[in-house]
Symmetry: D2
Subunit: 334 residues, 4 copies
């Protein structure tokens, strides 16, 4: 249950009610420190509390702050002046390589963004690889290169945190903190990202239900950070011709029931460059809030995800066609 | 291996070669009775056969006649004058109810098609229900009602065969024979559909890999019917918020590797009407060859699939937006 | 809802009640023609019917006749004098090759059964292959060879029906009719098997939920054939190191909630001979009602499923260890 | 490739070879600092290195140190005098509650272990819950209670690390460090566990392939900790009647191909107490190296996983039957 207490409720009284109801006091930006969230198991509010209550919301399950039942309009997230969600019709197209590999490579990616008008660039410095015998990312050095490219081209940067041991530098260097699919349940990361006010992009785990996905988002929302974006990037199914299965039914579900902006990553979903453009256009036609598309100046030599990255020519063509589809469905590419 | 024998090869010689190679002789429409298909395990052709051979194709697996390695252009399928595949840019939008329920209902559906210019109407007479205690379809009586609506409104009809016991009447009454997801492995149906020349729409089983799906198509192609359309309608995954998971990565794979037209059914995939329009636009943006969308004059009283059918107003709006997306990606709605 | 009418209820009255409730009249062996089954949506029985009613059962879903809520004890199935289920502690171990390939091969398999005391032999004549370019089974000729081996060694035969076009000869030749995983939804087969009294072994589809699986069984039970056995043979998951994933959690569920005997097929589940013995012992330790284990006189030359069949030496060792495990958990191998 | 250098190779030479081959130098307990592991992509060793090489092993993929191709016998893991793997036939049965909830509760669990002769007790202090609004574990206080129960009853303790922020205290307090299913990809934890010599039990993620699972183990092995145990605890599939699907085919695969001891957790797999005993016996019949079974003095009031925990009476009966099955397959319960 979400309980909104009256504006003038005394701090002491709020604490007492929260304690009696085993509720978290959360800081909704427009209503600081007077929103309580209890486990969803609570369905009825005792009479004694009612005088202090402005409004309350009952839920079937622990999707509460993220539910459209609580807040109907998609939450607005602002990335250094660029807005998605809210009443905007913006779709944020993000591109860049899987990993920062070298200054030369990342500068070429920055150049591409600059040239096309792409505002946010992606690249990973801490890579959550499945094998210990492959490239693990450049780490802090990679973050510094991202800072350089950001300054040179006036871009915003989204980069991934792999585990809680390097959360601080990622928060420091990133404009959007990406929580990767494999780190989605990491309480160290979720709790840390709840304490910053920087935007966070939370990727769905490939073995994660929509229910669990949004519940992970609730850790961040209830911890106090409302600048949160969800990202669908493919789930693991029995099909092996493609790397994962992009769950656009899930995207439709999130759009209907959840009040957070939704970004789609077609590159990791299919795992092969041949299908990325079609899937990106498909997501655009659904009116998603953003797209995350991997590109590389020379995909064939990429140190990770070589098969799925578009080259710059392919992306340039795709970017133009995305604008056409956006127009057909009433969206603006930003 | 597919082996194309020279045009003037004697019938006896063809038979002999086929027998020695354990090959099927298939009747490709442009090259009758001189195309041989062996198991894909055969990788090399003995020298002695070469003088009779015009061309041959080696394959990794038993996707052979359906492979773009054999035939690069999508096969053209003609439904009573309406063409998809080939060099056309047509996307065939099909609609109608899950089941034929009554004359009144089906006439209203026919009226909708007529009004909007939809050329092909869908509706099931033999329903493959999962429970014996629910509506099983009107059977032959349903086929007769479909014939009536076809004549009244000048439509083409697609309807489903559930099992081999009623294949003959379905072939007789349908303009396109639909093989449902649960019947996809049915050899009685596959072999029967191989012998007709009517177009067949083969739905992917919800537990079926792309490999197996296209191999089922090979039963029909190798049996002699090239008027074949594939349909993606959602696969079964761990996600339960939606009924199935529409596999658009799989559609991208089929477009890339398989020479058959591909139709998408968003209604069965998501199982809820709220997401059908978004998913239909997504598929259109991918440039698929067709869409299969369930509509009902009054979904709330539908005898099957009530939750996923659009009402006529919803479909009318969707149909208009589909044309806008089609235009953006260079397709024609037919 | 299942409604048991009083013993002396007039035929006319039964028909009338059935018609008013849209119920099927089924012939439970101990209570012929006075058991009604309505859709499970019916939760309350109108007062007017009560005088004719002996007892009734309300259900959450369309698992009704198969539910332990209706009949607590596992149904007894008799295969030519061999009993499983009921109050027996018998576990029926069935073996034999994937396909009948030749008289010599099948006679060797019969010899193995005879020698070890295995009472029921398996082998397929109509094979539901996924590719049209591989061995499809010997068909009727295969059935005749099975008849020969049955007579020679005094065995019972279980063999598979692939589609409804050859259901009759399979019913005629088999002692147990096997409905394969790919045919599990085939209404032609289900309805046909409901009309015979021969035992039927229904395999779970690899993409089929337990709910759908038992609902398919309800087609046979409600059609009048209670000699029904369920078989778990592995479901399709994201794991590809093994062919399928044997669902022993599902077996535990069936044992708890469903009143039909359960057989486990470890061979098709794992798809590799190395794991079959361990999985067979695992299933035995759970106290299942039967095991279906593929063996071949010479697996390396088998025309289908070569990798998963045990040779006769391997099976002989396994059979002995199965008896030890059976004893530890209070079961008898038959 | 794994390369074992000759015993007397100079340290400098080892470093140089490692650097040229981009190999990790790992410390195999019997051959410290002269085992190199390169990415598995390396298939051939240049002639110039051969004089320094004692032996080398080529692999298909990055399952290398864990492969039976490298080391045929299962690695031996010693938990305070109790041995599993190696040439032992021991199966370690571990029990205890999901979470430490109170001193009273955990002492009752310790009492049960003491009474039956169970040597290792499980209980979580840091719980990786999916919802922020439910019990998150007692944290450090829980670890201290575990220390108390360990001392009182002379037990060994296995407890879970949830994320990298509290890895140190878990390493300090635990006798076996459990890496939970949701933390399996956490590089902070994997790298931290590689540096201790305490035994680690790595649970398979529920969306994780066997390939990825063993590759996560390679992070620990290649980092220098060989005291490693794998745990299968159920994967996520389309089936929802049970919480997860226990993958015993996967266990058979691991037993065949991987040199690490394998423990099975039936409680989390099925999620319901009714099936735990049957599944535990099934795993025992496969000859696994251990079982992890949740018990609670009073499951109905448990703060987490209430539905799947056995009460002490149920476990006592199960424990006795496990010994019978163990005997039938030649294992010792420890």
């Amino acid at each position: 249950m979400i309980i909104i207490l009256k504006k003038d409720t005394a701090k002491e009284r709020i604490k007492k009610i929260a304690s009696e109801l085993q509720a978290a006091i959360i800081s909704n930006h427009s209503r600081p420190d007077r929103v309580l969230v209890t486990p969803s198991a609570l369905k009825n509010l005792k009479k004694e509390f009612l005088p202090a209550v402005e409004n309350y919301f009952v839920f079937d399950d622990d999707i509460q702050l993220a539910s459209r039942k609580f807040m109907d309009v998609t939450r607005e997230v602002n990335v250094g002046g660029i807005t998605i969600g809210g009443h905007s019709k913006n779709t944020l197209v993000i591109t860049g390589p899987c990993s920062v590999e070298s200054e030369e490579q990342i500068m070429q990616s920055g150049q591409l963004c600059k040239q096309l008008g792409v505002l946010v660039m992606r690249a990973g410095a801490f890579k959550p690889r499945t094998s210990p015998y492959t490239f693990q990312g450049l780490g802090i050095e990679g973050l510094k290169l991202l800072d350089k490219v950001r300054k040179k081209f006036g871009l915003k940067i989204i980069t991934e945190v792999r585990d809680a041991t390097h959360l601080e530098p990622v928060i420091e260097y990133a404009d959007i903190i990406q929580i990767g699919a494999k780190s989605m349940y990491d309480h160290g990361i979720l709790n840390g990202c709840a304490k910053t006010r920087k935007p966070v992009l939370l990727k769905r785990g490939f073995g994660t239900t929509l229910q669990e996905f949004v519940q992970a988002a609730e850790f961040i929302l209830s911890g106090g950070n409302e600048n949160l974006i969800l990202c669908e990037r493919g789930i693991r199914t029995f099909e092996t011709k493609t790397r994962f299965t992009l769950d656009l039914c899930g995207v439709a579900y999130l759009k209907k029931h959840v009040n957070l902006p939704v970004v789609v990553d077609p590159s990791h979903a299919i795992g092969y460059s041949y299908g990325v453009a079609d899937l990106a256009r498909a997501a655009m036609a659904m009116g998603v809030d953003g797209l995350l598309i991997e590109t590389h100046p020379n995909p064939s030599v990429a140190k990770s995800d070589a098969s799925q990255q578009l080259n710059h020519k392919e992306f340039t063509e795709l970017y133009s066609s995305l604008k056409a589809v956006a127009k057909a469905v009433g969206r603006n590419v930003v």
